[in-house]
Symmetry: C2
Subunit: 235 residues, 2 copies
């Protein structure tokens, strides 16, 4: 089983190929270039340099949200394009679950709290428990205020590991409130397509055709919010 995964939900862009637990190839860039510039050439070059033909990939996976609206749309569109030409099944995974999956199999036991900066003093987050390498989802993906998240975490009375581009924001608030809170080191902190392939590997049965693959939005996109406001003002 070979899975090609794509991550473009926030600043970094990455792609990876997973085969039966091993990562055959991986590429990432985190230099502020737009994903529309970076992503497809990066996938092309990764496959070329690893000698992997797209024809040998069994499943295409993407971090389908939450995340930057534009980033998620670019990732989903890239997967749709690749899947369409080769008629491959696709799976959209939760960006947050993919982040938590990276910690599975490490020696951390406790609560994984992936956090993405959702602006307006909120983070996109979901809580997962890691116990003996297994990942158990505790809460749904959601946009939560830092205060509410701290209260939620406090109830578990377990060590908390923060990951993601919102981890530092959370850490600065939580270290005064929670007794055991840790932050992933910079070189392992950010969203990665490796996590996307790991999550996709356990979601194979939920694969769909490329037409059915959709982004997962937790909030309405800004353009739609503005349209709604405009329409209601016009009433």
């Amino acid at each position: 089983m070979r899975i090609l995964g794509i991550e473009s939900s926030a600043g970094p862009a990455s792609c990876a190929v997973w085969e039966d637990g091993r990562i055959l190839a991986c590429s990432s860039a985190n230099t502020g270039l737009t994903h529309s510039q970076t992503l497809v050439p990066m996938i092309h070059d990764m496959l070329k340099n690893a000698g992997i033909s797209l024809k040998t990939v069994d499943l295409l996976a993407v971090a389908a949200g939450p995340g930057s609206f534009t980033g998620v749309r670019i990732g989903v569109a890239a997967v749709k394009g690749l899947a369409f030409t080769e008629d491959k099944p696709c799976v959209g995974v939760s960006t947050l679950a993919a982040m938590a999956r990276m910690a599975a199999g490490t020696l951390f036991s406790g609560i994984i709290c992936p956090a993405m900066d959702a602006r307006r003093d909120q983070v996109y987050t979901a809580l997962f428990e890691i116990s003996e390498g297994e990942v158990i989802r505790l809460t749904d993906d959601n946009a939560v205020s830092l205060n509410n998240l701290a209260k939620q975490l406090d109830k578990y009375k377990k060590p908390v590991l923060l990951i993601g581009d919102g981890a530092e924001l959370c850490y600065n608030t939580f270290k005064q409130i929670l007794s055991e809170v840790f932050i992933a080191p910079l070189h392992l902190r950010y969203q990665s397509a490796v996590g996307v392939t790991l999550e996709a590997a356990v979601m194979q049965e939920q694969a769909v055709s490329s037409e059915k693959l959709m982004p997962i939005y937790l909030r309405m996109p800004q353009a739609e919010r503005e349209l709604k406001r405009k329409l209601s003002n016009g009433k």
Copy 2:
């Protein structure tokens, strides 16, 4: 400070760019292609896709050994080539120290035992202690038999984390002998250029010119061993 790191000491080939703790770009391939085919195009494509010019890199780093003689020579030669054209300083890091460095900042506390299969029932290894995110070297890089390594580890009476392509070999032997021995998950187990850049970041003062960069061999290369035997037989 920007560091370009290269890892080709065993099966996987990888390259990464580090800047002040963050990984700006990274690429890896682990599909059995020869490093002479893979490595330089991979570096070129990583820099291109991340929009990084080689001119902006301050230091070039390579896993200089121990490892496969050919792999290490290809990595060192690639760095020499890149450094020569741009007149950049270079640093050769211990492959094993680079592997240990990946665990720094994670929540593991105990002994890190990176292990590379050195054939003849031996592994290339060195022991490191990770305490509060700091990496402390306990033993020199060496080729050690599995039995001797188990005895060494047993003395520390601390949890042991095995990483590297020799980790599984060690784990199968050690799990009956040691009380707390763990193996890194497959997606974080192998040598990576990210670790090379992390180790290089703390070795900046030992940088040399490209002419002075040399591989680190713990054993004599096979061709030299055979020449020596031939010459002594001819006596």
